[in-house]
Each structure stands twice: as C-alpha cells, then as structure tokens.
C-alpha cells in the first residue's frame, strides 16, 4: 500500500433517514442524490477535524471535489435509516475520504464511495500539490488524541 492510511483513523458517522423527495419512480434513491449524502458526512468529518469549509475559506484555500466514485451495492429506499461512515484516508497532498453507507438496522453495507479534494489557493486559483500546514496540523493533533 503506497498511500498513507490513517493508522488509528479519523472517522465520523452521520445518521440519515431517507427523505421522500429523493426517491425516483422505482422507489429507490436516484443515483445523483448520493453525492449530497456524502457531503453531509464530509462536513461533519471536517467539523470534527476542526477545518471545515469556513475554516478553509478563512485560511485562503478552497478544496473542490476533483474525483468521486460511488458503488451502488444495494439500493436505498424511502424512510430507511442509514449511517454514513466517513473515514479520512489521505491528507498530505490532497483530501481523500472513503465512505460506507450502512443500514442502521441490519448493518448491511449498501454503498461504497470515495471522494478526492484538491487544495486550491483561493487568490491565485492555483492547484496546490501539498495541503496547507494548518490542515495537516489539525489532522495530526486529532490522530494523537485517538
């Protein structure tokens, strides 16, 4: 394994009940809505790290999504209670987060996903090849506590 994995891991779980307005004519969640569920979990994970989108902006950086993968193992259905488990995988050169959406009752894994966010300097709009020190410090602080 070449990429640096969190040894103990920074993980955040987000609870969600599937809303009516997300299901399609097959009564399952339309595939395009999943990226919003990932965003819910990602925001909570970044809050936990102490470097959320507002902190990013205040520190002069943006972290747009540059890659996303979603594997729809089993469908999500209306009123289903699910847990979105987000785990920080990479943080030195870019932010990579892996996700699992799990049925909160049966514990079955329904969805596997990952996103990659690249650091962009907000004023120059230039892609950064290394994450800002402030973010790496926050991650290391949290890892030291876990």
């Amino acid at each position: 394994m070449r990429v640096k994995l969190s040894p103990k891991g920074i993980v955040q779980e987000t609870l969600l009940t599937i809303p009516f307005f997300d299901v399609d004519s097959m009564n399952i969640v339309w595939h395009g809505h999943y990226c919003k569920y990932l965003e819910l979990a990602r925001c909570e994970l970044l809050d936990k790290i102490g470097y959320n989108y507002t902190d990013m902006k205040n520190s002069g950086f943006m972290f747009p999504i540059v890659d996303m993968q979603i594997k729809y193992v089993q469908p999500l259905v209306f009123e289903q209670s699910v847990r979105i488990v987000a785990r920080l995988i990479e943080w030195e050169c870019r932010i990579k987060i892996d996700y699992k959406i799990i049925d909160d009752t049966t514990q079955q894994v329904l969805t596997k996903a990952s996103t990659v966010q690249a650091a962009v300097n907000a004023s120059t709009k230039q892609l950064q090849f290394v994450c800002p020190d402030i973010f790496i410090q926050r991650v290391n602080q949290l890892l030291a506590q876990t």
Binding site: R2, V3, C93, A118, F129
Partner: protein, 88 residues
C-alpha cells in the same frame, strides 16, 4: 537507495504505466506531461503521491507547476532528493 537519472526514469515509467496506463515507450525525456502523456493537474497530484514511493520520506515538489516534460520531472525529483538528503 541512491537514485540516478536512469533509475528514476525507469521507476517513473512503471508508475505512469500502473497509474495512468501510459505505455513505457511513450515516456521519453522530451515528452510533455500534459500534451503528450495526457496527465492533467489532478493526475499530477496523484503522481506526486506515487513519487513518495521512490523514497521513504515525504516528497514535496512545490515548484511542480514549472514541470513541463519528463526531463523536467526527473530534474525536479533529483533536485528535491539532493536538497533534502533523502538518499542518505
């Protein structure tokens, strides 16, 4: 492990083939990363991460934006390794 320009090129060919399906024969010194090898800026970040595998330590090419060709890339990595004494 001491890296020479040739050994580094051989390893970069392997990385480019594994990561981006680029034929090793296409990785010539004068090949342009963006135009000839179709490596975009997102791939470049990925490449940076893979380059770490060449050394035990973190590699940070902050001037990577100036890297245009395979030859530039070799120079940048060798310069970084020399400056940071990663080889020793």
């Amino acid at each position: 492990m001491i890296h020479t320009r040739d050994s580094l090129l051989a390893q970069i060919k392997i990385i480019l083939q594994e990561q981006f399906d680029i034929e090793p024969d296409a990785v010539q010194l004068n090949a342009r990363l963006r135009e000839d090898l179709d490596i975009d800026s997102i791939d470049a970040v990925n490449l940076m991460i893979e380059l770490k595998s060449l050394t035990a330590k973190k590699i940070a090419l902050e001037n990577f934006h100036q890297v245009k060709t395979v030859s530039d890339l070799l120079d940048a990595v060798l310069l970084f390794l020399h400056q940071n004494k990663v080889d020793e």
